[in-house]
């Protein structure tokens, strides 16, 4: 059994390392530093950490002001409040002036669990993807999260990074390299392609095992960058595998599934089935119970592949 680490913990670790490498890194939080793990940075670099209190809108505005003053700013809260409450500030004060702010939002998706629908953000990828020039990242595990957070720090401009609450299996070998905008083909296969993002990559890999036992060899692509989308990899999937199943812990409206469908429809039309939350609000429950309830298990992905009969 693989080791399990929450991507928010990876974030906390990466921040401390970044703080040592770059004195211009500044971190903001909105009274959730223990949960988002920015406290790790605050403990080591208290002078470069600012708590905005429970005021996400102002936190994003302050982040913009620090960024236009030359700082590389990381601003964190739960995905719901970071991307939802502060949306228009991100759009106008960070996106429009291309401010160098990294919005690292934890507790995304239904696997927040017991807190229920008010805290289960399933719209953030959609909201952030719509902002011109915004880079949107959704790492799958500890290794990719740390690598992509470092890539985000090195990138000049606004970035949204989606992080999870729950511990998830480590998928990649330590030291695996990641590049913003370049998807990772995790498994070869030509019968169908599962394009997964975030914690759904692990489910996709389990689905591949289920399908392999039935003689179906699927390709798996980790779409850790939702924007800019690796269109080349998506089109290759469409052309070489014939059909695509997308898997995201997000609404099927506006997220990965939508991005993939947008990419294929004009150039390589193929069937696309979307695994994700089907236009409903979540509810309280254990993460695994919720993934099952909303049709987001490995078996659900496998069934989606079977139902497409691409072969």
């Amino acid at each position: 059994m693989a080791e399990k680490i929450a991507t928010r913990a990876s974030y906390g670790k990466a921040l401390v390392e970044l703080g040592a490498e770059n004195p211009d890194i500044v971190v903001l939080d909105a009274d959730l530093s223990g949960s988002t793990q920015t406290k790790k940075f605050a403990d080591v670099y208290p002078d470069r950490f600012f708590n905005a209190g429970i005021a996400e809108a102002n936190m994003m505005g302050m982040a913009a002001g620090l960024a236009v003053s030359g700082k590389t700013v990381f601003a964190s809260s739960f995905a719901m409040f970071a991307s939802g409450r502060a949306y228009e500030i991100i759009r106008n004060s960070i996106g429009y002036p291309q401010a160098n702010v990294k919005i690292c939002a934890s507790h995304a998706g239904v696997t927040v669990g017991e807190d229920g629908a008010s805290h289960q953000c399933i719209e953030d990828l959609s909201l952030m993807r719509g902002i011109p020039g915004m880079v949107v990242l959704n790492p799958a595990d500890d290794v990719s999260a740390r690598a992509l957070i470092k890539a985000a720090a090195a990138y000049k401009g606004p970035v949204y990074v989606r992080l999870g609450r729950a511990a998830v299996p480590v998928v990649y070998e330590e030291g695996t390299a990641f590049e913003i905008g370049k998807a990772k083909r995790v498994k070869e296969g030509k019968d169908a392609c599962i394009i997964a993002t975030g914690i759904m990559l692990d489910k996709a890999m389990q689905a591949a095992d289920i399908l392999a036992a039935e003689g179906i060899e699927v390709r798996i692509v980790d779409m850790h960058t939702i924007k800019p989308l690796d269109k080349e990899e998506v089109l290759a999937a469409a052309k070489e595998c014939g059909c695509i199943v997308t898997a995201e812990e997000h609404s099927v409206i506006g997220g990965l599934g939508s991005a993939v469908a947008e990419a294929v429809c004009g150039e390589a039309p193929c069937k696309v089935k979307m695994i994700g939350v089907q236009d409903v609000f979540g509810q309280s429950g254990k993460p695994d119970e919720l993934l099952k309830l909303y049709g987001m298990t490995a078996e659900d992905i496998a069934e989606a592949v079977r139902s497409m009969k691409c072969k």
Binding site: V26, D47, R48, F50, A52, G53, A55, A57, N58, M60, G61, M62, A63, A64, G65, L66, A67, V68, S69, G70, K71, E88, I89, N92, S93, Y96, P97, Q98
Partner: protein, 272 residues
Amino acid sequence: METVQLQKIAQTVRQDIIREVYHAGSGHPGGSLSAADLMTALYFSEMNVDPADPAKKGRDRFVLSKGHAAPALYACLAERGFFPVSKLVTLRKLGSSLQGHPSMTLLPGVEMSTGSLGQGISAAVGMALAGRLDNDPGRIYTMLGDGELQEGMVWEAAMAAGHYKLDNLCAIVDHNGLQIDGRNEDVMNVMPIGEKFAVFGWNVLEIDGHDFEQILDAFDMAKKCKGMPTVIVAETVKGKGVSFMENNAGWHGKAPNEEQAKQAMAELGGEL
């Protein structure tokens, strides 16, 4: 600089505002005219800025939180030498760097993109925090409208500035009493303004926003105040300097026609 000279420059800035908005065919003359004296004082006396090097280290920075007063900001920047005055008539035209609301990526001298109310003061708080981290001598100025104070985010920012004791930050409230739908007190009462900032930990100064001696004194007192941010609540007249625009909410966001523009320019001692 002598206040007489500042008055003269402010009059030129007012003429520029009318010319800009007239040529654009839309825009916000009322709140630009009310803020003209305050912004003239900032750009021609108070702030340490260098038009030849807009990004100079250690400069003072101004954030126009009430971004719709862009015509006044552009007029000050042009008259100060950041770009040719002739460019002012391109306001709001396709391809112009003089956007309807200020864009920092398009126009050197604009320190923050604004236009959506309540956001500029937050950015100014972030700039002041950065300035403190870097031991930067530059001060941060931001101007808010009185109607803008209805945005909840303003008070989040005010709380943060008080909490972090940002004495390198000076906010100015252009208190002309009017907003799009009418008088502040009818739309949503914002009074008392000074007391609100005071309880958030700000040094509060109340002045006549058209009296240069009072304006310059207030900036001086703000600089001397340590351990807390300062807010200057400036009593102003919306549309100041143009008789038919003064104290008239109808001129918040409307361009004058040719006849009105000519009359306005005549009253301001200029020609269209």
